[in-house]
Amino acid sequence: MHSRNKIRTQTSLRVIQVCIIVLGLIILGRLFQLQILNYDTYNPLSRENSLRQEVVNPARGLIYDRNGNLIVDNQPIYTITVTPASYDPKNTPILAELMDVPVEEVKKRVQEARDYSYYRSSRIFTEVDFETFSIIQESIWQLPGVGHQIESKRDYPVDSLKASHILGYLREVSKEEYLRTQSYHLGDRTGKSGLEMAYEEHLRGTIGTNYIKVNAMGQNMGSYQDGAIDESPKKGSDLYTTIDTELQLLAEDLMQGKEGAVVAINPDNGAVLSMVSAPEYNIRKLSGRLDRTYWDSINADTTNPLYNRAISGKQPPGSTFKPLMALMGLELGIITPQTEIDNPGYYSRGRRYNDLADPGKYDVGKALQESSNTFFFWLMDKIATQQGLDKWHELATSFGLGQLNNIDIPNEVTGTIPDSTFFNRVLGEGKWGIGDQLSLGVGQGFVAVSPLQMALVAAQIGNSGYKVQPHFVSTIRQNDGTTMLTNPEKEKIDWVDPQDIAVVKDGMRRVVTDGSGRYYANLDSVKVAGKTGTAQNPHGQDHGWFISFAPVDDPKIALAVLVENGGYGSISAAPIASLLIEQYLTGEIDRSYVYNYVKTFEPRKQITDEDEEENLDDQSQGT
């Protein structure tokens, strides 16, 4: 009995010993698994737990005018962020109350942030006023996962400067955009038009990252490793533009209340001095948190203020096309400066094409001065029959018409300079003839150009046949101080003969001294050359054009002005152009009566019966 007990005790002892050792080994094995085998899983987990990446936004690059004056600046705005990983949805009502927005709104925004990233912080409220921002800051301890950022919005120091179509606006990146490019975060802004869009990569800079330690409640515990692995943001590059603020302000003032466009460039290098598309929109209202009402209103506006007429508009150039026609005629040897034709008051080819210019003998100079349609119908007839439409297309295109000129803001259009392929496509092969081509000679019919393109034509005639690259930005100054020059070289247009262009320039000078431009475009102080034009508008009153350059011998400025529904270019567009030239070249405006005339000029949008009749009468008229 006793020995049986002893054996049993020994066995029990053994069993318990084995149990303890086995269970102990299980625990040790588990520790080995967690701490050694799975170390690479848990170590990053603990770091993610206690580390938060904080995005530090770089200051966006500034924009200066041609005199080095700041025209686009930055201003601080306060933003509330959320890191979904540490955010407690139970706090949504508190956050909604502090922010003074509906609970649903907060829920929706947090969900969006969650969809974007569980661990990265996303902006949920931007442009919070300083007071609300301070209240949130005081309550941040009870709102784990909620943080803040101080960002900046665009500010425009020149109060009255609009320049909306040049500068453009910023918008938050869309979901598609941040999913496509890894470099954007939810809530980041990106340029959506104008220079802001074209130079996004330069202006934006490089995002910095701060690593901060946080505890389980999401409280900031200071920087990780004293900021050793932080990356500081790199400020965006500054843009030095060619914009002349004085000129731009005047152009905006003169175009106020009208629809149309002004493009002024330096004929020497293509630098855009001023560009206005009227009506403008208010970039100040689009600079911060999106003003929904305003955004909807400009989108619904029938005058379409977001549309950049200066580079996206497509209108027939009317008679402003005639100088280029004259140049082509001279170059192709169809006419000489002395070639005279007899103008009976109309041109007859299958039908009669009326001419507003008086009957008589016309050489090219007089034809330009008086804007004789007969002369240019005749000339177009000759070009089309002797050289073919495609030759005409080639020469017109080399001046920048019917093609993109790669100006450094988006949404430029090509316009239309028809060639035989175009007519075959649009009218059908064999279904078009000389009748369709004649109107091209006076800038009507299928020809469509933008104000920018016409400004280039003016500049390139003014500079005696040098192709220039239109541009806004002359210099990009990077964060580290290095600069990048963007000044493109001007290039001789090979077919242009200086002797011939002198004839054309003289003709354009005569337009201002003795022709349709003499009322409003002739200045005592500066020798202006130009050409008026009227674009037929089947929907209302005709659009007025004026292209111009000055001084005629060594032009410093070339312009195209388009006033929609302005009627004759000589009374609508020419005065605006001449005022801009006067301001730019003399620094002041002497002719206050012209200024007052422009300010009170009212384009007639709705067509009246009288206009209708007139329109029917002069189907192919140019002025």
Partner: protein, 416 residues
Amino acid sequence: MINLKELSWSLVTIWASLIAVGLVAIYSATQGPVAEFLPSYIQFNFYKQLISFGIAILLLIGLQFINPRTFQEGSYIFYGLGILLMILTLLIGKEVNGARSWLVLGPFNLQVSELMKIATILAVANYLTSGRNISAENLKSAIIAVSLIVLPAVLIILQNDMGTAIIFFALIPVVLFWSGLPYGISLFIISPAIIGYLTIISWYWGLIAAIIITLAIFMLQRRTWLTFTSFVTGVLLVIGIQVALNQVLQPHQRARIEAFTNPSFDPQGAGWNVIQAKTAIGSGGIYGKGFLEGTQTQLRFLPEQWTDFIFCVIGEEFGFVGAGFTVLLLLALTLRLLRMAAVHKHPFARLVIVGVLTVFFTHFFINVGSATGLLPVIGIPLPFISYGGSALITNTLMLGICLNLDFYKRQFSIYR
């Protein structure tokens, strides 16, 4: 007459080492950079533990001057007194963390359930060794012995302290087994725990375990009825737990039970503690992040890091080396006690020592198992390491009694 060489100095060393490890971990958990987020009464825990350590030293020394017969002779009195105090606690006790287990005695807060552990061990040991006819093989004695353990356990459940009750239930199979309960039946008694645990992880593992255990019982004890009962119990258990998990329990209750196998099921809720605990231990690596350098600890990602999750602090700041050392110390404690029981000649002393080591080991296994995600989170402290004056003093009391019984083992027989 007292020969100090007779004292088990190795156990005293292990005891002191464990408390030292605990003090280091408690210091880190309450006095490190984390202190910023802790209320001052918790920061004060380190100093309270130091004071408790002082009391424990005096207690350990004092206990060695007590006549070992006292423990046997007084066992029923201690037990009866303990039960009375437990009932009193239920009536007028103070509630802490949802458990009404504290009795306020003037300036002291006493957790009677802690003292009840040793009282129960002494009483059961006394009962099972009190007569020739009393043995676990005898059904009546076995039931009485089990009742002696279940009574305080039920009172503790009524106090809403599930963790401590589990310790009492763990005593039942060990004490009965040690007292001669047949191997097959012993295995049968612990089989629900094994099958239940595996079923929560996955039902077919539970089923496989039920089959293997049935086979083992059949091998150990060729009794048809026992084998049959074992199999039926096992299968019913697997089905019962499955039904409970899928049909009876609310999803959030199920999530809490299953959190240890699948914490990512509810990472912000029930799984949070498990994820943070495993992350703390796992990120410690081999050598740890260093004293006061643990991000999980110092940035307050761990719940109850000075008591139930203190092992995570050790694992994170001292790595596999530190955590492994702590585990080895605790294993050494239990194995050394087992050795002590083996060489003792007196059955009462042997059973007391086995009971005490069972309590220590169960605490250790459940605490570390919870922290490493092996077991569901059951809030019980790590012996000698976790903060807690009552626990430290009663654990020292239990160890001190074992040391006393060992110290006087040569003279013991004459007291019989």
